[in-house]
Symmetry: C2
Subunit: 209 residues, 2 copies
């Protein structure tokens, strides 16, 4: 990893201490694609996702809007808000590390609502908001944010380890910074297992008031 | 400005060089609100904006989707893409600096499509993607990105300085990093001139591959 460039010139000729890096581009590949079209948020494998501006058709997170939930407690529960959590993306190495921290054999992406397992992005969960994923079909996803781990997902993992107690709470701690990303669809199109994804990370600059 | 904290622990116990800062919160105030409901992208003052998940009703940038344009040349022109440019926000000090660089008396926000002049945010244009603006009504905007200056806006400024040539091109250079933000509506509601805006900047971490 190259060190961040700290030689940023800023507004009005003032030289701030905030570092910056230029935009970055590289390729990655989805090794699995999944859909949550059952009762819970467990997902099942599909060969292709045909995403639209509403998200993943038939998936429980489909929609231009979504009702506000406990993730956004500053909005009254149920208020319609724009849905920026249409697609859930996980990284295999982060799932492995999560399992190691929890002392279990594995955390399967389909247990915790993954729509995509993406290979080739180091520290996937830390990718900045605004990063775009461009697919060969023309489909594009925009990264909203890190997915904060919740107890519901932890309980779903715990259901596969019935001898272990408190997995719901343990998961929230262990999965911090490892639970992948949520994204929204910028442009509709098909996404196929194994296709080449162009990842475009925008220029970054730390903003301090 | 406080220096960025460089003591970040990272995934898998590896200590990267990338710095980070915690989330930040502070207040700001819109001194003007405007709408582009005429023929061009010039805006006119209003006392209140009643935003919806579609954006600013009647504004030329209203819509859940928008046709791809020259700002996103990687999409075929006209392809529907999600509209993350519903609201245009400018800062008075950045407009002043822009005018100084251009050698003109002023750049009025209504000339270049501003929906909001926001007071109290230093280096507004640099606010990170994902920053939220919460209004007393419950309305909320999410910052998409810096608005890259274009020649159309420059030509609009030039129309007020008919004796100066090449303003369209000069603007693109002079307004770089000063042309404010584009944002999308996360939650509907009213925005009033002079109201107190709660600005919530997410935690930031420079991501380097």
């Amino acid at each position: 990893m190259a060190p961040a460039d700290t030689s940023t010139a800023d507004l009005f000729g003032i030289e701030p201490t905030a570092p910056s890096v230029a935009g970055q581009r590289f390729t990655a590949r989805p090794s699995r694609l999944l859909i949550a079209d059952g009762a819970g948020f467990a997902t099942r494998d599909v060969e292709q996702l045909e995403v639209t501006l509403d998200g993943v058709p038939g998936d429980r997170h489909e929609g231009v809007a979504r009702p506000a939930d406990s993730r956004v407690p500053w909005y009254p529960r149920g208020t319609p808000i724009r849905n920026s959590r249409q697609v859930t993306i996980l990284a295999p190495d982060e799932l492995d590390e999560m399992a190691r921290r929890l002392g279990i054999a594995q955390v399967k992406p389909e247990w915790i609502g993954s729509n995509m397992v993406l290979e080739g992005v180091p520290r996937l969960t830390q990718l900045p908001s605004g990063t775009r994923l461009h697919f060969p079909s023309g489909a594009a996803l925009a990264v909203e944010a890190e997915n904060a781990p919740c107890r519901h997902a932890g309980a779903a993992v715990g259901a596969f380890y019935p001898d272990m107690e408190g997995m719901d709470v343990a998961f929230v701690k262990a999965a911090k910074g490892l639970r992948g990303l949520v994204a929204w669809v910028e442009r509709a199109g098909g996404i196929t297992v194994g296709c080449e994804v162009s990842v475009r990370v925008p220029a970054q600059k730390i903003w301090v008031r």
